[in-house]
């Protein structure tokens, strides 16, 4: 069992302030270096944060800081963020519009992808338009290579998963399903 030794106070009661998009924007300079202008990623391997549900962004930052989700770039970025920082960043990126994705899905993925999202219960949690809700991410218009990588990690039970739902859901997917899903989702409109 890992234990923390001396730990500074996380928060004093009443000391924090409400999640603030403007404060989040001011704190986002480092984020947009990789996640793109206003959190609209230009890199297929790096997720877009714009128009993602605020609770989802804060939850993932929390998972990185707590060491539950690990990534060579993100773990150090999140290590020194306070809960208030995370809530501000989340409020900011959630408030930004995402443009139509540059990614073009293969025509044959349209029907096959839609079918897979129903058959595998994607729409139940991620919403009918796959735009996410509450702690659940927007998949529509997300970067293709990132989607592919995350689905493979969930399937392999190697992706941090707060409530286990995605690890469970991904078990029914084969590699071809994952390919079609990533191709389909990356081309859907985000807003």
């Amino acid at each position: 069992m890992k234990r923390l030794l001396a730990v500074a106070a996380l928060a004093l009661a009443g000391a924090a302030t409400a999640a603030d998009p403007a404060a989040g924007k001011a704190k986002a300079a480092a984020c947009v270096q990789c996640h793109g202008p206003e959190g609209n990623s230009q890199n297929p391997a790096i997720p877009s944060l714009a128009s993602q549900p605020a609770q989802m962004i804060a939850t993932q930052l929390f998972q990185f800081r707590e060491g539950n989700r690990k990534d060579p770039q993100m773990s150090p970025m999140a290590a020194n963020l306070s809960n208030a920082d995370m809530n501000d960043l989340a409020a900011y990126f959630a408030s930004v519009k995402a443009p139509l994705p540059a990614y073009r899905s293969r025509p044959e993925s349209a029907a096959a992808g839609a079918e897979l999202t129903k058959k595998n219960n994607c729409v139940q949690c991620h919403g009918p338009a796959l735009r996410g809700q509450q702690h659940i991410p927007r998949l529509a218009g997300q970067q293709h290579d990132y989607l592919l990588a995350q689905l493979r990690l969930f399937k392999a039970s190697k992706r941090a998963d707060m409530d286990g739902n995605m690890t469970s859901a991904a078990q029914g997917l084969n590699e071809q399903d994952i390919d079609v899903l990533a191709d389909y989702l990356a081309g859907l409109p985000a807003n």
């Binding site: 234990r3 923390l4 730990v7 996380l10 009661a13 809530n87 139940q124 078990q171």
Partner: protein, 404 residues
């Protein structure tokens, strides 16, 4: 009712889902009938980074005349179960954050410390005579003398382990309560929504911390995440979550009562019979509810009763003495939501329980998604007679006090 949580697809999990395509549905969907396939009902996840109390409509909370409810501490990720140290430290657990937090009252300002990290669903927490007992997914440990060394906690000693030999997919988190007999009482939940539990599952167990000896107290209990002992009779009372996907109005979640003097193991019916009188459509076909012990009280359908605590303080009016308070965390598996409040159970001269609201107002819109802005989880009677309760959705502890 709590969402069911899967980690890996253990063999028991695959077996439990034999009638469904393996691995496709999230485990909390297990037991849906075909007509419910397009249901948009889903469990709610907490704001892991917490929400500032200033953002919340605290003025909508209601308590009986003379009572006051206020925020006592905030910034405690997924604040779940509560325990009070001898020196006033409030210990706070969670299911998902893997940490244990300590709240220290420093002259009216509450400081929140992370004292333990890297734990495995550390939901159950009890403090007694200088020792913090902690129930994780698979074991119960003790931390002796921890309140004197919050910044440098002692190494844990294992009380009992191997409590999760099948790495069960659902209901693996444990509540912990200390009995008048000095034994630690805890739940082992059902591994799915409505499945045949294996040996040790869907039970209330107890372990003697002196020798680690395990005993079964009750079976047929789908999942209990709140228990306490009547200060007068010493009897065990616990809450239980009934199954999902039988519709908005069936079955009730329940309150149960077991005398510690009773011999043998009491069976409350899961998965065959729900709420003492409703046979399960599948598992109940060849069984009778008459076989099983009845609940003491029906609490409401899908209302998700969590913490249950007898009031033993001196601050509240005399008629509150010995009342049982229950934190209602749900409902998610209902198209019209209910609950999200703290209820008060009083007992008449014959000991019959009667329930009424105590703290209400977290449920903002019964048809919205999410319908609530806060979710009560566990209760704690403080030395001054006030009562704290936790809200995992926001990472907040509230204090309820009374003055004439």
């Amino acid at each position: 009712m709590r969402p069911l949580i899967a980690v890996a697809v253990a063999s028991v999990f695959a077996a439990a889902h034999a009638q469904q395509p393996a691995g496709e549905a999230p485990p909390w969907k297990q037991g849906m009938n075909p007509e419910q396939a397009s249901s948009t009902l889903h469990p709610f996840a907490p704001h892991m980074t917490g929400r500032d109390a200033k953002e919340l409509p605290l003025n909508t909370l209601k308590v009986p005349a003379g009572f006051k409810v206020e925020v006592w501490a905030e910034g405690i990720p997924e604040a779940r179960s509560l325990a009070l140290g001898d020196k006033g430290t409030v210990f706070v657990s969670n299911r998902l954050a893997k940490n244990v937090y300590a709240v220290v009252d420093k002259g009216g300002k509450r400081e929140v410390k992370t004292i333990l990290k890297g734990l495995n669903a550390p939901n159950g927490i009890v403090f007694s005579k200088g020792t913090l007992f902690l129930a994780e997914r698979d074991k119960i440990s003790r931390y002796d003398g921890i309140e004197d060394q919050l910044d440098n906690p002692p190494q844990p000693k294992v009380v009992v382990d191997n409590l999760d030999p099948t790495k069960q997919a659902g209901h693996f988190w444990k509540y912990l309560a200390l009995g008048p007999d000095g034994k630690l009482y805890f739940n082992i939940g059902s591994p799915g929504n409505i499945v045949m539990p294996s040996y040790m599952q869907a039970s209330v167990m107890r372990v003697d911390p002196k020798d680690g000896k395990l005993e079964t107290v009750a079976i047929g209990v789908r999942n209990s995440v709140g228990m306490d002992f009547d200060p007068k009779t010493k009897d065990l009372w616990f809450t239980n979550h009934a199954r999902d996907w039988l519709g908005d109005d069936s079955p009730n979640d329940t309150l149960h009562h077991v005398s510690l003097k009773s011999k043998g193991v009491t069976n409350f019916g899961y998965p065959f019979c729900h709420q003492g009188d409703t046979p399960d459509p599948e598992y109940g076909k060849d069984r009778s509810c008459k076989e099983f012990a009845k609940p003491a009280l029906k609490l409401g359908t899908h209302i998700a009763p969590l913490g249950a605590k007898f009031y033993t303080g001196k601050m509240f009016p005399a008629e509150y003495q010995g009342n049982l308070f229950i934190a209602m965390h749900g409902s998610w598996n209902r198209t019209v939501k209910q609950g999200y409040n703290v209820m008060r159970v009083s007992f008449d001269a014959k000991g019959n329980p009667k329930m009424q609201p105590f703290v209400t107002g977290f449920l903002a819109d019964e048809k919205a998604d999410p319908p609530m802005w806060g979710r009560p989880v566990d209760l704690l009677v403080m030395k001054d007679g006030s009562m704290l309760f936790s809200d995992d959705y926001n990472g907040i502890l509230y204090r309820v006090s009374y003055s004439k």
